[in-house]
């Protein structure tokens, strides 16, 4: 399979900082809890979307990354393909803790609904009204070759016009997101080497 696809935009989110195209667009206080950072980074966008506050940390991070990278971008035909290492483990643990004490079991439905890692794709889709292909994979490290082939397949088979790909890893305050847009037009070729390079910065 051969296609001509390009990486057109990238966002990095880690250590209370958000960069778009390598430029810092939002920076919180170093070492501040993720919840504080996420809330402030969201408020900085001045977006009226109360549902954000109800999301778990993984969804908040994926949502923020998508929000920053999709500003001024065409969303029609946008597919989503994300991956991480821990799945929804952070929320799974919180849910498990709520049912630990058999004499005092009050699991939160709002927590339970996030015990699937692909829920973050749903949150992005709802926000941007996407009715497109989406997939979430769990890998030890970012599978650049696999993701490159998967995104190109979506483009070549006309299942998508562009693809938002990336890594959204969150577990107990350790977090990192690297999201990038793949399009049929652009300058930077969508190759495994170039994808790996995004993860070095």
């Amino acid at each position: 399979m051969h296609t001509t696809s390009f990486i057109t935009k990238i966002v990095h989110l880690h250590d209370a900082s958000i960069k778009v195209g390598g430029q810092v667009v939002y920076e919180g206080e170093k070492d501040e809890p993720f919840a504080i950072f996420a809330k402030q980074a969201f408020k900085y966008l001045e977006v009226d979307y109360p549902k954000f506050y109800k999301m778990d940390a993984l969804s908040k991070m994926a949502f923020l990354g998508a929000e920053y990278i999709l500003q001024s971008e065409e969303k029609e035909g946008l597919a989503l393909v994300l991956a991480n290492r821990s799945g929804s483990l952070d929320t799974d643990v919180r849910h498990q803790q709520s049912i630990q004490d058999t004499a005092n079991i009050f699991p939160s439905p709002a927590t339970f609904v996030y015990t699937l890692s692909n829920i973050c794709l749903g949150e992005i889709s709802i926000r941007h009204q996407l009715q497109t292909e989406n997939a979430f994979f769990v890998f030890e490290e970012y599978p650049a070759d696999f993701m490159q082939k998967y995104a190109d397949y979506l483009l070549v088979s006309a299942k998508a016009k562009r693809v938002l790909c990336g890594w959204v890893e969150y577990f107990q305050e350790k977090y990192r997101a690297v999201l990038y847009l793949v399009d049929q037009n652009g300058q930077k070729p969508h190759t495994t080497e170039n994808i790996n390079e995004l993860f070095e910065s």
């Binding site: 506050y53 009050f106 699991p107 709002a110």
Partner: protein, 85 residues
């Protein structure tokens, strides 16, 4: 009853993560769902858990919810009449 309603408003804000909503913003008769606070189906489940956890009330019939969760006033009325803790 006034104290219970204030307490309930605070718990609703806390449990449902209603950012930028204060106790004073919620009127006793404001609709909790629809055009009022705009709560959704997951919020409804959280309110059922809240009734159980905080007031010892188990709602087994989902049809009850529609009338009980109309407003803070209707919730407080039901809690006052049925609480076990």
């Amino acid at each position: 009853m006034a104290e219970l309603k204030e307490e309930l408003k605070g718990k609703i804000i806390e449990v449902l993560n209603l950012e930028d909503v204060a106790v004073e913003d919620i009127q006793d008769d404001d609709a909790l769902f629809g055009d009022g606070l705009g709560l959704d189906s997951i919020d409804a489940l959280e309110l059922i858990v809240l009734m159980d956890k905080e007031y010892g009330i188990k709602l087994s019939d989902p049809k009850q919810g529609k009338s009980i969760f109309q407003s803070v006033q209707t919730m407080a009325d039901y809690i006052a009449a049925n609480r076990t803790k």
